[in-house]
Amino acid sequence: MYVAVKGGERAIENAHAWLAEERRGDPAVPELSTAQIREQMTLAVNRVMAEGSLYDPDLAALAIKQARGDLIEAIFLIRAYRTTLPRLMASTPVDTAAMAVTRRISATFKDAPGGQILGPTFDYTHRLLDFALLAEGEVPPAPTALTGPAQDMPHILSFLDRDGLIEEATPSDEPPPDLTRAPLELPADRALRLQALTRGDEGFVLGLAYSTQRGYGRNHAFVGELRIGTCPVEVDIPELGFSVEIGDIELTECETVNQFTGSKTQPPQFTRGYGLTFGQTERKAISMALVDRALRWRELGEDFTGAPAQDEEFVLSHCDNIQATGFLEHIKLPHYVDFQAELELIRSVRAAAFASREAAE
């Protein structure tokens, strides 16, 4: 129960002022600009865009600055802002086969057409602190190589598809359900699950994905393909009667190949998990693909083993960090009346217990 109490205004105002001062830090150190955050803290910006569910690097950088680097707080700011925007339209589904890739690797096929492109990855770094960055971070330009004209990069799994060794991704143009417009209803279809996962908390989705690898709903995932790059976003403009591209966004896509022994309805073949996220967010995209695959047990005729990653209600109700932190953090706000009631209760129960003990003696 909540009661309105007054008297905190001045304390709150002063707390806000101190918060702002703490955000600024030592005034002798130059202030951080949002352009610096956008350009040099790119992966934090990408996470805020992915989980804030709004692609706008400038706004994500601003949110990170305002939140003093607390990314969940920054995501909260972005989620709050996006509710103020009129939804003008939905895009046509992005064509990731036409992605201008900066990274594209496969753990299943060495000689994939188009080749393996490492891109700007941490994978082969030694994870040793680079003390040179303490002094300055200027670097020479990255090497380049001659290229032919740009061409589409076909999805690697489409080669398995051709031989019927992997389940088909059945195309459809059914308008998808939207978590942001209608309350979550279970059972959710795959489109709704993918929307929840792509904006879900990276840590939570990572933990669930790891649990499938350790045996809780095991599904033996290989990364068939991981690609990062930019894709044009195209929308149909009603007043024009045709579609136009409104810009490019960076995406990370992960397709997994999963073992599948077959069921009553399906022949033995590989199955798929899918991850697609805003920005360069590959840990999240891989995690999403593993959890997506685990949640598909019903449609593939597999057994529910009770694993958390297979439990749609568990995953979808808990993967949103804004929902979670809102409910978690509210318990630190005044609950004086609740607690007063608990206190009264425990006193009366104790009194009754002591009274009956005394009576027995």
Binding site: M49, L54, Y55, D56, L59, R82, L85, P86, R87, L88, A90, S91, T92, P93, V94, T96, A100, T102, G115, I117, L118, P120, A142, P143, T144, A145, L146, T147, A150, L157, S158, A169, T170, P171, S172, D173, E174, P175, P177, L179, R190, A191, L192, L194, T198, V233, V235, I237, E239, F242, S243, V244, I246, G247, D248, I249, E253, E255, Y274, L276
Partner: protein, 143 residues
């Protein structure tokens, strides 16, 4: 003018750097707003498994604007981000491209923007190509 030409230039304008477009266009010709610049969101969709059923991936910011030049040409713009003056300039160029000034507009504004964009894409592609793995099998010691 064909629909596909207009699609192309609207895409080039949407992708352009706002400051670069402003420099190339210079002072704005007289115009009347049909729809004031408006910031909104577009829900970006993906497909499950890259080719399957669509799902909602998340939103992006977009600014749109519709206006009419003196003489009646109507221009529309939908551009990524929240820059209203960028949307106005894109709509003006869209209108100019439909009228008698289309050839000069193409040469003075669209061509340099297109050049910027293809140079940027080529530079990224060249860096990506430099990180392409050239596998070779090491000789096994058999004896």
């Amino acid at each position: 003018m064909t629909m596909s030409e207009r699609r192309d230039w609207m895409g080039v304008l949407a992708r352009s750097q706002p400051q670069r477009l402003a420099d190339l266009l210079g002072p704005l010709p007289a115009h009347e707003m049909l729809r004031n610049p408006e910031i909104g969101a577009v829900m970006v969709r993906g497909r499950a498994g890259a080719a399957g059923a669509p799902f909602n991936l998340g939103e992006m910011t977009v600014t749109r604007c519709s206006l009419q030049l003196q003489g009646g040409l109507v221009g529309h713009a939908y551009v990524q981000g929240r820059d209203k003056s960028h949307a106005i300039r894109a709509a003006i160029v869209d209108a100019l491209m439909q009228g008698p000034q289309s050839a000069t507009t193409r040469e003075a504004i669209l061509a340099p923007l297109q050049q910027d964009q293809s140079a940027h894409r080529a530079a990224t592609r060249a860096k990506a190509a430099a990180t392409k793995v050239e596998f070779f099998t090491m000789v096994r010691g058999e004896d």
